[in-house]
């Protein structure tokens, strides 16, 4: 119900329409979805995960475990949103979850009737056999029955962005402690960032009362915010939750930009990726529920939450509320309720006496205070209508039944230590407050070993207003003076983990610890009886604290119950690990803008646009996009590839080879260096010549290959594979910088500076001659030579190298002139029958020639000798990278699988990845193998399938027929030479 007056956050002049399930309702600007629903008399907001019990909100903020809804519809539907944090906007649509067919009438609630038979570990014990049934029967059924909201199936239409930021002091939490910390730090000139998860500043203080600087806390809050906002190096954000504090002051903050507006033109959320010199954790504390029978019934709430609903939003479940507590703070709720006109029939206080200022004020206001009293049970279907009082220390004999619409419970407070504990800060048990507090002697440490997180305010255990604000100011600047503050003195609380303390098993089975996951006192005690001693194991066995709220309300109560059951001290049982994030973070925010076109960088060659305009279909090569082939109208890809191969072999083909790595290596010691990097001798390569080179790692395995050209006496140009350019450049620099650092060698990766075009085929020379400018005759530019000059007016370096077996020139020009050269070649080649060809034709032609491809014939376990490339290894060199590795016995084993050609007897194409079937079985009882296919193509040139493969002792077994198995079929193929086409190499050397 909505109260006639009050509500510091609502605007009664601005009603907002919203829909919950299929009913339209009205709330007020400033409402949360939860407060609006309570205002409309709706307490029932969800159902629990396991038993489908009816649930209402138990909290009023981010710790809420029950009131989870699916917000929005269609692609924008977001499941498991806390109604207590959702700001109301016009047209908001929310749906309840975990119910079928409807929230009020949930068939699955039958689970509740059999809850005696669904204790902790039930799934582990029951669904063990038969094994297959788990996957196919039990798990799907359980997931259907026990799911939360479903994720939307369509792509998220919203945008998310990220920003990097840096500050000296980052303050998490904009209550009075956080504001005091930010002010104190900012006044020293520090760069300060202050983040508050709620839409408004001040935290609890404006609700809880007391005075700051002689006035209402809200007044001080407004003045502090105004002062901070006027400082240039202070960043203030509400609706921004500090989700994680990682190593070395790396802080993640999720800011909600448009959620409260129901959408907007810009990003919906922003992930701040911040490096903070230090962090002040001023996230406050979470009030603890009391574990009494029936404490999960809708209408039972935290005392502070009911106080918030009444003071902030002027809503309450009904006109009467009972308060049950073990401390003085809950009396503030009773007083606030009375001021708002809600009757408080009784305050049940578990302590034997309650005589502090707050209890006295309650009595003075005419409220009945029953000390030594607990709750034996709650009454009501779907919502609480009465509570049963009992002796707090007894077995639960009901002394009185009191009608009410709500129960405000308080079991004390637990500091929100998450941001302290995530990066490694330790906790200690505070006996007086019955709570874990940060241990200042064991803070989380940063890059220099210095403390990087300070806790302030309630997060440090300073629960009373004067202590809270003083600790905030101190955390911001140890020299700062705190504003004077006053609040009522409070008597010590009495730890109460089970109410009534002598309750028997039946009552304990009705005392909820984890509301969302339906973990009760009896479940934790069962785990202890079954031998679980570690809190981490108990958590996983019972699922305590594993719900979306990550145990913010349940953890301390749960481990106290465990400690009691184990007869251990609470600090000895310890806590579970606090892991980021503090609250769930939307995946979209973590991805940021990295989706769609900018999901990952796509590298385009200088000729990309030409390829696109001429119908190229693309092949991803690392991040590059290369033309796979250029299909013509009504032409299949296979037909296009065959046409491109045959045209290149018979006339003229053009290939964009710009992605090839091009690394310049220069200096007095460059030759000596390359002799170490390559297996072959590069120092002996004459200027003007090219040589094929292999690179191995120290294990001896082949990692890259390419043609090396000697440009000058002290300068070489090393071509690498397309995927290898960056990797090999890094590899070279690694050795130069860390091993041979006295060698005078510079390297430079020129891959992006140059466009490279392969002009291939019998008419290649004619095409270049048509461009004019260079003598490309056999005499002037023989095979495996290079020359520099001008082609068609473009400065060019021309290499006579061939990866196809045809007459071939690779022409390198500045990248910004690549298109010009390509178009000149297309024009000049027109009469010669020129066609561009793509990577697949390139692959087919190299396979027809038995040329290996890094990544096809190699997989990190293959040495050059396996591939018949021993000729590219200099036997005379005393050392090169990989030489020692290749001396290992296993790499010299004559039984190694080595490269051969394979031709199927029926001419078909062997499936990719096919294995040669050997005799018998291997050590694992599998069919033995004796080789595998590494490359397999249909060869247009030979008009049949060809393949390259690695076969045990392959080159010694020419002519032998092997059986290959893959894709469920078997193919017979004969071992042949890997050079299928032009074995004498006549075509390329003309």
């Amino acid at each position: 119900m909505r109260l006639e007056t009050g509500g510091r956050l609502i605007d009664r002049t601005r009603p907002l329409r919203f829909r919950f399930d299929d009913r339209w309702m009205t709330g007020l600007a400033g409402d949360t979805l939860a407060s609006a629903l309570i205002g409309q008399g709706r307490i029932l907001m969800g159902r629990s995960f396991k038993y489908h019990r009816p649930r209402g909100p138990v909290a009023a903020g981010l710790e809420e475990p029950n009131a989870l809804v699916t917000l929005g519809t269609g692609a924008r539907a977001e499941p498991n949103v806390r109604a207590t944090q959702t700001e109301l906007f016009q047209g908001l649509r929310a749906d309840s979850q975990n119910r079928w067919p409807s929230l009020a009438f949930d068939l699955m609630a039958a689970n509740d009737l059999v809850s005696r038979f669904l204790p902790a570990g039930f799934y582990y014990k029951t669904f063990i056999r038969p094994r297959a049934a788990w996957k196919h029967l039990f798990e799907p059924a359980i997931r259907r029955a026990a799911g939360l909201g479903p994720a939307p199936k369509a792509a998220d239409p919203d945008r998310y962005d990220q920003v990097y930021a840096f500050c000296d002091v980052l303050v998490a939490g904009g209550g009075v402690a956080g504001l005091a910390a930010a002010l104190a730090a900012a006044r020293t000139g520090a760069r300060v960032m202050l983040f508050e998860q709620a839409p408004h500043w001040g935290g609890r203080a404006p609700v809880d009362g007391g005075t700051v600087a002689g006035g209402d806390p809200a007044g001080w809050v407004a003045a502090a915010v105004a002062e901070l906002a006027a400082m240039p190096d202070v960043t203030l954000r509400t609706r921004a939750t500090v989700a994680a504090v990682h190593d070395h002051g790396y802080v993640l903050v999720e800011e909600r930009l448009t959620d409260h507006l129901g959408g907007g033109p810009g990003p919906r959320r922003r992930l701040w990726r911040i490096r903070a010199g230090r962090v002040v954790n001023a996230c406050g504390a979470f009030e603890r529920p009391l574990a009494f029978p029936g404490n999960d019934r809708p209408g039972v709430m935290l005392a502070s939450a009911l106080r918030d609903y009444v003071v902030n939003w002027a809503v309450a479940p009904g006109p009467a509320a009972v308060v049950v507590t073990n401390n003085d703070d809950a009396y503030r709720t009773a007083l606030a309720l009375r001021r708002a006109g809600i009757s408080v029939p009784v305050i049940a206080d578990a302590r034997p006496a309650a005589d502090g200022p707050l209890p006295q004020a309650a009595r003075a206001a005419g409220i009945r205070v029953a000390t030594g009293t607990g709750i034996a049970g709650t009454v009501g279907r779907g919502r609480v209508v009465a509570v049963q009082l009992c002796d707090a220390g007894g077995g639960g004999h009901v002394t009185e039944t009191i009608p009410c619409d709500a129960v405000a419970m308080s079991g004390g407070w637990s500091p929100a230590v998450h941001l302290w504990s995530q990066p490694g800060g330790r906790l200690r048990w505070d006996e007086a407050g019955a709570m874990f507090v940060p241990d200042p002697d064991h803070p989380p440490t940063g890059a220099a070993g210095e403390p990087i997180v300070t806790c302030a305010g309630a997060a440090a255990g300073a629960l009373r207003l004067p202590d809270c604000i003083a600790s905030g100011a101190r955390a911001g600047d140890p020299a700062a003076a705190a504003p004077p503050a006053e609040a009522e003195a409070e008597a010590p609380l009495l730890p109460v983990w089970v109410m009534p303390s002598g309750a028997g098993p039946r009552k304990r089975a009705k005392m909820w610890l984890d509301f969302q996951n339906d973990v009760k006192v009896s479940d934790v005690e069962l785990a202890a009886r079954e031998g679980y001693r570690s809190v981490e194991h108990t958590k996983r066995y019972t699922t305590l604290g594993m719900a979306t709220d990550q145990g913010k309300l349940s953890n301390v109560n749960g481990l106290a119950v465990l400690a009691q059951a184990l007869d251990e001290a609470i600090p000895r049982v310890g806590t579970t690990t606090f892991r980021p994030p503090f609250v769930p973070v939307t995946i979209g925010a973590l991805a940021g803008e990295a989706r769609g076109a900018v999901f990952q960088p796509l590298r385009r060659t200088p000729l990309h646009d030409w390829h696109a305009a001429h119908g190229a279909v693309w092949e991803p090569v690392g991040l590059w996009r290369r033309p796979y082939c250029y299909p013509r109208a009504n032409e299949s890809r296979a037909d296009a590839v065959a046409r491109e191969v045959l045209n290149t072999r018979r006339a003229l083909g053009l290939l964009d080879a710009s992605t090839l790595g091009k690394i310049v290596v220069k200096g007095p010691d460059a030759g000596r260096f390359l002799d170490m990097i390559y297996t072959g001798a590069m120092s002996s390569l004459p200027v003007g010549r090219c040589r094929y080179g292999l690179l191995c790692n120290e294990q001896g395995f082949l990692i890259d290959d390419g043609v090396v050209a000697r440009l000058a006496e002290d300068t070489w140009l090393c071509h690498t594979t397309s995927g290898g350019a960056d990797r090999i450049h890094v590899w070279m620099e690694d050795w130069l910088q860390t091993e041979w650092w006295n060698w005078r060698v510079f390297t430079l990766n020129l891959t992006e500076q140059l466009a490279q075009i392969a002009v291939v085929g019998p008419h290649a020379r004619k095409a270049l001659e048509a461009l004019g400018g260079m003598d490309v005759s056999k005499a002037a530019l023989p095979f495996m030579h290079w020359a520099e000059g001008t082609l068609a007016g473009i400065p060019a370096r021309v290499f006579r190298i061939s990866f196809s077996g045809e007459l071939s020139y690779e022409v390198a020009v500045p990248a910004d002139r690549g298109v010009e050269l390509w178009e000149r070649l297309v024009a000049a080649g027109g009469p010669l029958g020129v066609m561009p060809y793509g990577t697949e034709a390139l692959h087919v032609m190299r396979a027809e020639k038995g040329f290996i491809m890094i990544g096809d014939e190699t997989d990190g376990t293959v040495i050059p000798q396996d591939l018949g490339l021993g000729w590219a290894i200099s036997a005379r060199k005393p050392d090169y990278l990989g030489k020692r590795g290749q001396m290992r016995p296993a790499l010299a084993d004559p039984d190694r699988w080595r490269l051969v050609g394979l031709m199927t007897l029926d001419g078909s194409v062997i499936p990719e990845g096919a294995y040669a079937v050997g005799a018998g079985r291997n050590a694992n009882g599998q069919t033995a193998t004796e080789g595998r296919v590494t490359s397999t193509y249909f060869s247009p040139t030979l008009n049949r399938g060809i393949a390259l493969g690695l076969i045990r002792r392959g080159p010694e077994r020419m002519g032998e027929v092997l059986t290959f198995a893959a894709e469920g079929r078997r193919v017979q193929a004969r071992i042949v030479s890997p050079v299928f086409h032009d074995p004498e190499g006549k075509a390329q050397d003309v």
């Binding site: 945008r159 962005d161 990220q162 920003v163 990097y164 930021a165 840096f166 760069r191 240039p232 190096d233 960043t235 907007g264 033109p265 810009g266 990003p267 922003r270 990726r273 490096r275 803008e593 990295a594 076109a597 900018v598 990952q600 960088p601 796509l602 590298r603 385009r604 060659t605 200088p606 590059w624 310049v664 220069k666 200096g667 007095p668 005078r744 510079f746 390297t747 430079l748 020129l750 891959t751 992006e752 500076q753 140059l754 500045p814 990248a815 910004d816 002139r817």
Partner: protein, 174 residues
């Protein structure tokens, strides 16, 4: 009027010069182009030319005519172990200018771009989202980002998203 503009700068001639750290040829070589040797992570500009510190043994020269620059370097570099090469076609340069320039780049680069931390004349290599880049500040609100030409489209798309006024963050505003 927009508070940030992102423009693809006209092609910028660039020469990479490598010399051993502290080599005596550094001074004469850069003097031949009218430039002085940049301090660590600094930009030295003289008219239409500039030298950007890249590494202890590497400077990137921004020059109107790379061929002429290489010719001018030849004399001072004769006899010195060095590497000089035209790299202008390998890269593109984006100018990001205006009061929001630093914030637009802060969405992409893990660099403190506070005017006090990255004042005019600063230069450093870093990454922009998932690719390598070079950043420098010609003036307080005139920053440049250079990346490899193959990822020009990626970086241009990112800068467009970052500069969207609807995504304004409000950082670095006095």
């Amino acid at each position: 009027m927009s508070d940030v503009t992102v423009t693809r700068a006209t092609p910028q001639g660039m020469v990479t010069l490598k010399l051993p750290p502290g080599d005596v040829a550094w001074g004469p070589a850069l003097a031949a182009l009218g430039l002085s040797v940049p301090a660590v992570r600094r930009l030295e500009r003289a008219g239409d030319r500039a030298a950007l510190w890249m590494a202890p043994d590497e400077v990137l020269l921004l020059v109107p005519d790379p061929a002429a620059a290489l010719a001018a370097l030849a004399g001072p570099l004769a006899g010195a172990h060095h590497l000089a090469a035209d790299v202008g076609a390998a890269r593109v340069v984006f100018a990001v200018a205006g009061p929001r320039a630093r914030e637009v780049l802060a969405k992409l680069c893990p660099v403190d771009l506070h005017p006090a931390a990255f004042p005019a004349g600063s230069a450093r290599r870093t990454r922009a989202a998932q690719v390598a880049c070079m950043l420098w500040a010609e003036a307080a609100d005139d920053l440049r980002l250079s990346c490899f030409r193959s990822v020009e489209g990626y970086v241009a798309d990112l800068l467009t998203l970052s500069a969207d006024p609807a995504g304004s963050v409000g950082l670095f505003r006095a």
